[in-house]
Point group: C2
Chain length 586, copies 2
C-alpha cells in the first residue's frame, strides 16, 4: 500500500516535470498547423543564424546546427513557454569564446555538459525563486535594449556590409565609415522584405465575411517569415542558375551529416600534452558558473518578456535548460539557451505550443542530411529582414508613461537596465537592473519596525516591552541597538527591559554578537533584562548570552509579573543595591 502510494507520488511529480503530459491531450489540428508553420519559419531562421553564432564562438559553422536540434527536442517534452527556442545565442557564443579562445573543441562541448549539470542542480535545489527578482521594469529595459541591439546588428546584414564593433557608439561610427560599401541589391531586397512582412503581419486582422478567406489570410500571415525566406532563396537560385552569379549576399556552404551520439570527451590533447578532466575544468574556471547562470537569467528574462506577467516556472526552466545542455553535449553542441530573436520570430509566426520544437528539430536533422546544399542560396538580407521585423515590436516604449504616472523609481530601473544593456552588455544591464530593483526590499531588512511599549502591572511597576516586527537579522542589528538605546535614553529612569522574540525565526551570529553590546550597556545601567517567547531553537542559539548575562526567560506575561514582583521585593529588602540578576528558569 505504501509502495503503491510512493509510486503514485513519483508518477505525479514526474508528470509535473515532463510538462508535455499537461497539454498534449488538448493538442488540436489548428495548434498543429500553427506550430508547423512557426516550426518551419523557426527552422529556416535558426539554421543560418546558428551557423553565424558558431562562427562567432570561433567554431566551424556546422557546430551551430549540431547545437540546434537536441535542445529543440528536449524543450518540447519539458519546456513550459511556447515561444522559447533553445539553441546557440549571440550572448552564449561570445561568453564561450571568451573562456575557450585557442582551446580545442572538446573544451566547448565539455563546457556545454557542465553548464547543463549546473543548471540541472540549480533546478533541483529550487533556486528558481532567485529569478522572481527579475521584475517587469527590468525585463522591459532588457527587451528594448536587446531588440535595438539586434536591429542594429541585422542592419549590417540588410545592407550587405560586414564589420565588428564593441559598443553602440563604435557601431554607429563604423557604420558611417563603411557606408560607401553598402550593397544596393541587398538593401532593396531587405527593405522590400520588411515592407512585405509588415503588411502580411496585419493580414490576419482584416475582417472578411468568408471564413475560408479569413483562414487563408491567417495562414498567409503566420507563414510570412518562411515564405519570404523561401521566395528570396528561389530568386537567388534563379539568378545564380541563369547568370552564374547572385545579385545578393548569400549564406554560403555548410558541412552535411548528423553527428553521432556520444558522451563528451573527458580528456583532450593540446599539442603533444594530454589534458585531464581536472585540468580541463581548471582551464574553464569560472565559465562553469558564469555561463549557466547567465543562460538561466536570459532564458527566464526572454520567457517573462513573452508571458507578460503570467507565472514562469523558473525551476522547471532550469531543469529543462540543464537537460537540453547535458543531452546537447552528447551531439557536440555548444552551450545553448533560449534566444530572444527566435522567440520573437516564433511569436510573430503564431506559435501555439512547445511542439514547435519537435518540428524545428526535425527540420534541422533533415537539413543536416539532405538540405544543406540549398541553404547556400538563402540571401542574408532577407534573413535580416525576418529578424528585424520580428523584434521591432518588442521595443517597449509604452511602459514609460505608465511607470512615470505610478512609480518613478521603477522607471529608473527600466532606464538603467536599458542604458547599460545597450552601452555595455545585456547580462550586465539585467544584473544591475535587478540589483537596483532589490534595494528597497533590502532596505526593509535594515530598518525594520520595532514596537516599543511601556507596560504597567499591579498599577505601580513598569517595564519596557521591545518587539521587532520582522524578527532580527544581521542587517538590522546595528539599527536595533541604536533604537533601543535611544528609547532607554528618553525614558531616563531604570526600567526592566523585556525583549519579545515572538517574530524571531532565527538569530544569526552578527545579531547575537551585536546584542551582547546592548546587553552589556543595559546591565551596566542597572536595567534588568527578560527574554520573552524564546523558541527552543533560539534559546539554544542564545544560551551563551543567557548564561553570560544571567538573563531570565519567560513564556508569558504572567511569568514576567512573577519575575518582576520577585525582583521588586528584593530591591525593597536590599535598599540601594542594584537589581540582582537571576539564573534563567528555562
Amino acid at each position: 500500500m505504501n509502495i503503491q502510494f510512493k509510486k503514485e507520488k513519483i508518477i505525479t511529480s514526474l508528470k509535473k516535470r515532463v510538462h508535455i503530459t499537461q497539454w498534449i491531450t488538448k493538442y488540436t489540428k489548428v495548434d498543429c498547423i500553427a506550430d508547423l508553420v512557426s516550426g518551419l519559419t523557426l527552422g529556416l531562421t535558426i539554421m543560418p543564424q546558428s551557423m553565424a553564432y558558431a562562427a562567432l564562438a570561433n567554431l566551424p559553422p556546422h557546430y551551430g546546427l549540431y547545437s540546434s536540434f537536441m535542445g529543440a527536442f528536449v524543450y518540447t517534452f519539458f519546456g513550459t513557454i511556447k515561444e522559447v527556442s533553445i539553441g546557440p545565442t549571440s550572448l552564449m557564443a561570445l561568453l564561450t569564446l571568451s573562456y575557450t579562445k585557442g582551446l580545442p573543441i572538446e573544451f566547448v562541448i565539455l563546457l556545454c555538459f557542465l553548464c547543463g549539470w549546473v543548471q540541472f542542480i540549480m533546478g533541483v535545489f529550487k533556486l528558481g525563486f532567485l529569478v522572481d527578482f527579475i521584475s517587469m521594469p527590468a525585463i522591459s529595459g532588457f527587451t528594448t535594449a536587446t531588440s535595438l541591439t539586434i536591429i542594429l546588428a541585422q542592419l549590417k546584414g540588410l545592407v550587405g556590409i560586414r564589420f565588428s564593433s564593441d559598443n553602440i557608439f563604435h557601431y554607429v561610427q563604423k557604420f558611417y565609415t563603411h557606408s560607401d560599401k553598402i550593397k544596393l541589391n541587398d538593401l532593396i531586397l531587405g527593405v522590400c522584405c520588411i515592407i512585405i512582412l509588415l503588411i502580411f503581419s496585419k493580414l490576419k486582422d482584416i475582417k472578411l465575411k468568408c471564413p475560408s478567406a479569413m483562414k487563408a489570410l491567417w495562414l498567409l500571415s503566420i507563414s510570412r517569415n518562411a515564405l519570404i525566406v523561401l521566395v528570396s532563396s528561389v530568386i537567388a537560385f534563379y539568378f545564380e542558375y541563369k547568370y552564374g552569379e547572385s545579385p545578393f549576399s548569400l549564406s554560403g556552404n555548410v558541412v552535411s551529416g548528423i553527428p553521432t551520439l556520444a558522451l563528451p570527451k573527458f580528456y583532450t590533447q593540446i599539442g603533444n600534452d594530454t589534458v585531464t578532466f581536472v585540468e580541463m575544468v581548471q582551464k574553464l574556471s569560472t565559465a562553469v558558473i558564469v555561463l549557466p547562470v547567465v543562460a538561466v537569467l536570459s532564458n527566464v528574462a526572454v520567457a517573462k518578456a513573452f508571458c507578460k506577467g503570467k507565472a514562469v516556472d523558473a525551476t522547471q526552466e532550469m531543469i529543462t535548460l540543464g537537460l537540453c545542455n547535458i543531452l546537447g553535449s552528447f551531439v557536440q553542441s555548444m552551450p545553448s539557451c533560449g534566444a530572444f530573436t527566435r522567440s520573437a520570430v516564433a511569436h510573430a509566426s503564431g506559435v501555439r505550443t512547445p511542439m514547435t520544437g519537435l518540428y524545428v528539430g526535425t527540420i534541422i536533422l533533415l537539413a543536416l542530411t539532405f538540405l544543406t546544399p540549398y541553404f547556400y542560396y538563402i540571401p542574408k538580407s532577407s534573413l535580416s529582414a525576418v529578424l528585424i521585423s520580428a523584434v521591432v515590436f518588442m521595443v517597449d516604449y509604452k511602459i514609460v508613461p505608465k511607470l512615470w504616472r505610478t512609480n518613478k523609481f521603477e522607471l529608473l530601473v527600466t532606464f538603467v537596465t536599458f542604458i547599460i544593456s545597450l552601452v555595455f552588455s545585456v547580462e550586465q544591464g539585467l544584473l544591475v537592473g535587478v540589483i537596483i530593483n532589490c534595494i528597497p526590499l533590502l532596505k526593509v531588512w535594515t530598518r525594520p519596525k520595532i514596537d516599543f511599549a511601556i507596560k504597567t502591572f499591579q498599577k505601580k511597576h513598569n517595564y519596557l516591552l521591545i518587539k521587532p516586527e520582522l524578527g532580527l537579522y544581521y542587517s538590522a542589528s546595528d539599527f536595533f541597538n541604536s533604537q533601543v538605546q535611544k528609547m532607554i535614553m528618553s525614558i531616563d529612569y531604570t526600567i526592566p527591559v523585556v525583549i519579545d522574540f515572538e517574530h524571531f525565526f532565527h538569530v544569526d551570529y552578527t545579531s547575537k554578537e551585536t546584542m551582547k553590546h546592548l546587553l552589556t550597556d543595559l546591565q551596566s545601567n542597572n536595567h534588568s533584562i527578560i527574554f520573552l517567547n524564546l523558541s527552543e531553537s533560539i534559546a539554544d542559539t542564545l544560551q551563551e548570552i543567557i548564561d553570560q548575562f544571567c538573563i531570565r526567560c519567560c513564556q508569558s506575561e504572567n511569568e514576567i509579573f512573577d519575575e518582576l514582583t520577585f525582583t521588586s521585593v528584593e530591591i525593597d529588602e536590599g535598599a540601594g543595591t542594584s537589581l540582582l540578576p537571576h539564573k534563567p528558569k528555562a
Copy 2:
C-alpha cells in the same frame, strides 16, 4: 524665532557630522600619550608603505607620501573609528593602476577627486544602510584572508626577495623557485624583530606592584613598533656609516618637499593632444563608480573588523572618506581609504582616539620637509616584521567552532568569503560573501506568508479573505497568484474574494500587471472581487485595475457585508446570471 531654530538645527547636525566635537572635550593626557605613540608608529609604518603602494600604481614614490597626510588630518575631524588610518592601500593602488595604466598623473588625481565626490554623495543620500549587509561571518572571512595575504606579501620583504604573483598558488610556486635568493641578514633581522615584537606585546599584561613600572612596561609595549623601526634603522645607519654598506635591504631615496595646494587639473596633455575633462572622465569610465564603492566597502569592513559588533556609522564614514579624497586631490593624492595593515598596527599600538591622524599627518609633513633623507635607512625586513606581527592576531579561527555549533550556513559564508578573497581578490570575496548572506533575506520576499480565511456573515454568506502578511512586492507576485489559485481550486465553489491591502505600503508595476492575470481568472470563473483597506496612494496606483475589472472597494468588514448582501439580492433577482460587478464606491 524660526531662523534661530533653523540655525540651532544646522549647528546640531553639523556637530553630529564634525565628529571630533563629540570626544575632544573628554580628551585626557593618557589618551594623548597613547595616540602620540601610535601616531609615531603609524607614521613610521605609513611612509615606506605608502611609497611602495605608489610604486604599485606606477607612480613616483613621493606621491604615496602626498596621499597620506591630508586623509589623516581630515579623518581626525570627521572620522568615527579610532583604528582607521586613511591613505594609499594595495587594493586602491592596484585598481588605480588597472584604470590609469599609461595615462598621465593628472588622471590619477582627477580620479581621486571624483572618487571623493561619489563617496560624499553616497553619504549624503544615506546609502550607508547598504553596508549593514556586511555581516560578521563575511567580515571574518575577509579579515582572515586579508591577514594571510598581507603576511605572505610581507614574508618576501622579510627574507629580502622580490617577485610579483597573481594568486596564492602562483605565490607559493614563485617563493619556492626564488628561495635560493633569500638574504640571510634580512631573515635574521626580521625574525628577531618579530620575536621582540611578540614578547613586547605581552609586556603590558604583566602584573607588577609598582605603578610606575607598570606604566613604563605599558609605554614600552605600545611603542614597540616605533622602537623596532627606529633601532633597526640606527643599526643600518651605523653599518652604512662605518663600513659604507648596510647588511640589510633598505627603503631607499625619496623626493623631499610639501606639495602645493591646488585644484586638480581638469584637462591634460597626451602627447600633443589636449584632453578635455569629459574625455578624461570617459577614459576613467567605470573606475569612477568601482573605486569609490570598493573603497567604502573595504573601509567599512576594516572598521567593522575592529569594532567587533559595535555600530559603525557607515553614512558618516562615506562622507568622511569622500572629504578625505576630495581634499586629498588638492595635494595630488591618489585614491585612498582605510588600510587593514595600518589599522592593525594602530590597534596593536594602543590607539585611543582619531586624534592619532593629526599626529600621523604632522609626522608625514615633517618627514616630507626634513626627514626624508633618514628614511633611506629603514630596513625593509623590520617593516615587514611590524606588519606581520600586527596582522597575525587578526586571523580569526575562533569563529569557526562558534558558527559550527549554531549556524552552519553562516560558516559557509565565512568559508566562501575567505576562499574567494584568498584565491581571487579581496573585493570579490567580500562581494560574494555579502550576496550569499543575503539569499535567505531575499527568499522571504519571494515566499511571504499569506493568510487565507473563509469568513461567514449572516450565517449563510461566505467570502474568502486573502491577506498577505508583508504586503506584496514584485518578487512575490507570481507566488501570490499561484497560492490564491490553489486556494480557489480547493474551495471548488463560487465565492466572493476579498483581498486585504492592510499590509501593503506600495504596489509596484510587476505586482499590478501580475494581479491583472489573477483578476481575469477570478472574474472568468464568476468570483466577485472586493478590495479591502486600500490606502489612498494604493487606490491611485490601482485605479486602472479597479476600473478595468469594476472592482468594489471597502474600508471595513461592515462595508463588505453591505456589498455582498446587495450582490446576493441581485443574484436572487436575476436567477442564473453571474454576479454583476459594480462601479467602485471609493
